[in-house]
Amino acid sequence: MTDLAPFVVPNLAARRASALVRSIVRTFLFGLIVVWSAFPILYVIVSSLKSQKEIFKFPPDLLFTPTLEHYVSLATTWNGYFATLGNSLIVAVGATILACAASILSGFVYSRYTNRLLAGSVLYLIAIRLLPPIVVTLPLFPLVDALKLSDTHFILIVLYATFWVSLCTMIMKTFIDKIPRTLDEAAMVDGATTLQTLTRVIFPLALQGVAACAIFVFIFSWNEYLFALIFTTQHAKTAPLIISEVMDSVSGTNWGVLFAGVTVQLMPVTLLVIFAQKFLIAGLTAGSVKG
């Protein structure tokens, strides 16, 4: 024992020291990422509670008397903002439901069936994602107008869902690929139709993927600006358009109101991401590990 001690103890100490260093570095990097990610959000929220004079004061006051004046101003001066939040919600929920429903069906088909047409259409799905959205708006604008769909929730729901259905299809395919085909076969042996197999067997098992898709589509639809700008005027106008108006290039930005609006806009999405982060991570890492 005594002979071994000189060899074992320094080795153990070195490993402990190394582990400690790794732990410190990891904690530091983790802290850095948290600060990097959370600082802008905190800055916006805190600034929304400061008076106009205090917002850009340097050095900033860490202790200040919070005020809700900007939220009051948002509700009075930009009184359309809260109505547009309702529009944002209708459009985001509608697009999420539509995109998820379409993606489950298409993901199932891509996962369980193989032929040349399907293989070719995957390329088409990916190619659609490569198109800059502004390009799509050029031919769409007169078409939407002719169909009398301008300034309706419906057109935004369809556009947002269409824009995301390709990626969501791929996500769903990856999730459904992981579900053993033997389950489909067992269900069919028991007399289930293809639709019943999908809704009663596949869907419950792929729910994590559906949730991931839903989060992606919801966040996109909630924040989207370009399509909303081009295809809405009044009735279906969404909240990001009002926020862009607060960033006024004629009179200058009212920063307090802007921060208040952004805080309100951020809340649902931030809460959604916090509560559903495991689904989000599952969606982002779907298919990354084979096995």
């Binding site: 008076s51 106009q52 004079k53 850009f56 004061k57 340097f58 009075t76 001066t77 604008f141 007169p142 107008d145 301008s150 700008l229 081009i230 005027t233 009044q234 358009l241 862009s244 108006e245 960033m247 006024d248 290039s249 004629v250 009179s251 200058g252 930005t253 920063w255």
Partner: protein, 421 residues
Amino acid sequence: MLKRILATAMLVAMAGTAMAQEPRTLTIISHNVHKTAATGGDLATAQNIAGEWAERNNVTLNWVTLDIGPLHDRLLREMSLGETSVDLAVVLNTRVVPSVARLLEPLDDLMAANPIEDLEGISKGLLDATAIDGKRVAIPYRHATNAMLYNKAILDERGIAVPTSLDELLAAARAATHVREDGTRVHGLIITAETHVTPLQFLSAFGATYIAPDLSVHANSPEMIAGLTELAKLHQEGVIPPNATTYSLDELIATMREGRGVFAINPFARYTALNDPAASLYPGQINAIPYPTNVAGKSAANTEFWSWAIPGNSTQKELAYDLIRELSSKEATVRAALNGNGPVRPAAYDDPRIIEKLPYAAAEAVGLRDASIAIPAFDGAVEATALFIEEMHGALLGLKTPEQAAADLQTRTEALVAKSK
């Protein structure tokens, strides 16, 4: 007797029809400032000019407000359709160009039938710029004429007199540039060089013109080179902020409110925002005066302005024109100015209500008198602003000599103008 009975019956019938009429909706696309100018917005002293007209005419006004870029993007898309729901729009002067004017309703016939009150009372330069190929396509409504804004408190603190000439201004801006005890750098001159307007204003004080109303290009003039040379020097000396090429309106406002800038080139109307007691560290200390030149009694002022126009594919042109008439009247111009609008009728500045409300009224009247349009209306106007910004940045940052930048700007702009004619 019979005639009387018939006439009475017709009148009753007409009144009944009018009462039974559904309120019509007039859709207006504008920036929020125009809505505020026409309605008073949420101002305590709001003058709801458009609202009163709407009530009298049983019309519901549907305002669609957007920022400058999105506003024009949307308007042009709407005008490309066979028929649009937009009945009335405001357009910035640089967008009232022949290719756009063809999509706007010529107002001459409507004006002949129902003239606008004292049309000649509207600034001639602005009126001329909104008549394309002999047709009146828009009626000027709001101007933003550039002024010299300065922080009186800092000038007093540094013992600097308010400049009365361009040379004095440049000397004062240099003398006012300093570093405070807490390390804060105070810049003598603030311009928003991310756009063309304030740099062109700076250069115009040297007598420089970029493009004349007859579309002749003067970018390579000795005045332009002198102005660009001075601009580059001020930048090198730190009188202008190092990030001047990306300086936005928001930064200018913040810089002036916090006393990190002493002189600034911006419209007279910025006076209110810069002196706002709720936001400025120098409320009541920032003055606005006409931008001085080295010619006694003459100021240099570039102006940008907005006009009302009716899309050619609108379905309610007469109704839209009636609102333009209302908003362009002499009284409405004064009332809109009380809502914060830049009145396009110079006579409005003599109105006691405006003199009482706007401390800079007399100065702005002088500025408007001497004002010229920054860039005349032609199909390449927007591209010409981009060329100017690019070459001006080159000179300001020292990437090119002012002479080279001016020569390149001349060549490129001449080609652009030739192509656009």
